[in-house]
Symmetry: C2
Subunit: 254 residues, 2 copies
DNA sequence: TTGTTCTGTTCCTTAAACCCGAACATCAAC
DNA sequence: GTTGATGTTCGGGTTTAAGGAACAGAACAA
């Protein structure tokens, strides 16, 4: 598909960075064995990253540095969604008392951007910046529902169907069938598709042309039922709408 | 000082990343001219970053991707300070009605980690992850006050004295004299040293051995005076103390 | 239409440097 | 003292990064 020319040294550098995060900090030898590379090679890369301030060293153990936080929060800020998204999200968390996330799509994956934990909310995804397959989450499905079937196929062909639980959608046809229902109702409700025992309700946030992202409320399956579920649905709808209005009119001039 | 072997291709890759942030997104040619490199070279690096999901492409313009947010928020989370820091910070912002930051030192620089904006607070540093010289901020100076003069010299020798305003400290001797006073009172108060017209008050957060960081309240110079200043001082002191207790006892098991 | 001038992309060739391996240094533990 | 685990240094062979020049495609003016 994309046999374009690539810088192999960059591959190794990025793999060092990723492995360093995966291992939650590591020494030279440990990294080298995990990456199946020579110790000296890893050492050189770590020295370079250290020189540029991208890793910190504590007694022979290397960790990623906060320089990544700079790049990361810059990137999030660039989307210019914070002012529009944060207050309604916050309000929604207060009203529903559950955990609320604002999610965007990037490169065929769902990225969790802004969170607010309500009174009784449980902490699930844990970190902003976390990525998941769009198929495996209500937030992702409601975004996909705004795309054409063709575009959905493109994404699933490339990304596949990572199975988070036994109930995670595993093929394109089932996904497209789900999306059809979501398009009708404008809301996505899932149970146990991302985490066992967790129910999620999501609504898309769209502009005139593009889809900005989605708002999702997650909580224990047995709690998000009956009246509480219905209340939640309409609360999310108005929160999503509120965000749309704020994006259109607000300080966020995109 | 450190003539160790370094991976030059990694240098160029990182410079591409940094330039991409500095230019707030750019095309191949624009990047190449800024970096004084061949277009083809930049192109190859961008392709590699794209392949790995570290940049996104919108009509021939490349931007850093949210993958950096993943690394960044992971790094911040690794410090395991959030649970201990966030609530007292939040309370302090409510009480003082000013802007509050929690700051840590990394590689001889001050890194802004957690923020809370009070009722009348003004948004100054803008993003978490932002780095500044320790000498140029109350938050940094109060951290330096916890270090030995020798260690302070090491840092200033390496980092120099970036001048943010005409009143920014410009040499080691003046800094050390300031630190002496700060050590006596346990509090750092600065005016116009980081931003013109801005006054900052900071207190360190320390454990039994190391210093975790500092809490800083910033606001307009003319507002942070008299009684409001004195109130602020004692509020910061108790907030910092609260954080120390939470770090020692809390869920944060370091 | 044609020409101009920006882009981004491809390909070739060579000098550079990445990567490995092996040796060395250092520290703990037994 | 010896063993085994680290991190570190260093020379050299061969991959390959990086530059330059040519190509493609779009936008625009004349």
């Amino acid at each position: 598909m994309k046999p374009t020319r690539t810088v192999k040294t960059a591959d190794t550098l990025l793999s060092v960075i990723n492995q360093l995060q995966a291992l939650n900090g590591a020494g030279v030898t440990e990294l080298a064995t995990h990456l199946e590379m020579a110790k000296s090679t890893v050492h050189d890369h770590l020295m370079t990253l250290h020189e540029h301030g991208y890793v910190v060293k504590e007694d022979d153990t290397y960790y990623l540095s906060l320089r990544f936080l700079d790049h990361g929060s810059y990137t999030r800020e660039r989307l210019a969604l914070k002012e529009a998204v944060t207050p309604p999200i916050s309000q929604l968390a207060d009203d529903t008392e559950e955990t609320v996330w604002f999610v965007v799509e990037e490169r065929g994956q769902a990225v969790y951007l802004y969170r607010e934990i309500g009174e009784r909310g449980v902490d699930l995804v844990c970190r902003s910046g976390t990525r998941t397959g769009l198929h495996a989450t209500a937030a992702g499905k409601v975004i996909l529902a705004g795309y054409s079937d063709e575009r959905v196929r493109e994404i699933t062909d490339k990304q596949g169907f990572d199975q988070k639980t036994p109930k995670t959608i595993a093929d394109t046809e089932t996904l497209l069938k789900d999306l059809k229902d979501i398009r009708d109702t404008g809301i996505a409700v899932t149970s146990d598709e991302t985490n066992r025992g967790v129910k999620s309700v999501a609504v898309a946030v769209s502009g005139t042309e593009e889809i900005y992202g989605s708002v999702v409320v997650s909580g224990p399956r047995q709690r998000l039922t009956g009246e509480h579920l219905e209340d939640t649905k309409s609360l999310i709808r108005s929160a999503a709408n509120e965000i749309e209005l704020r994006i259109d009119n607000d300080v966020c001039f995109r």
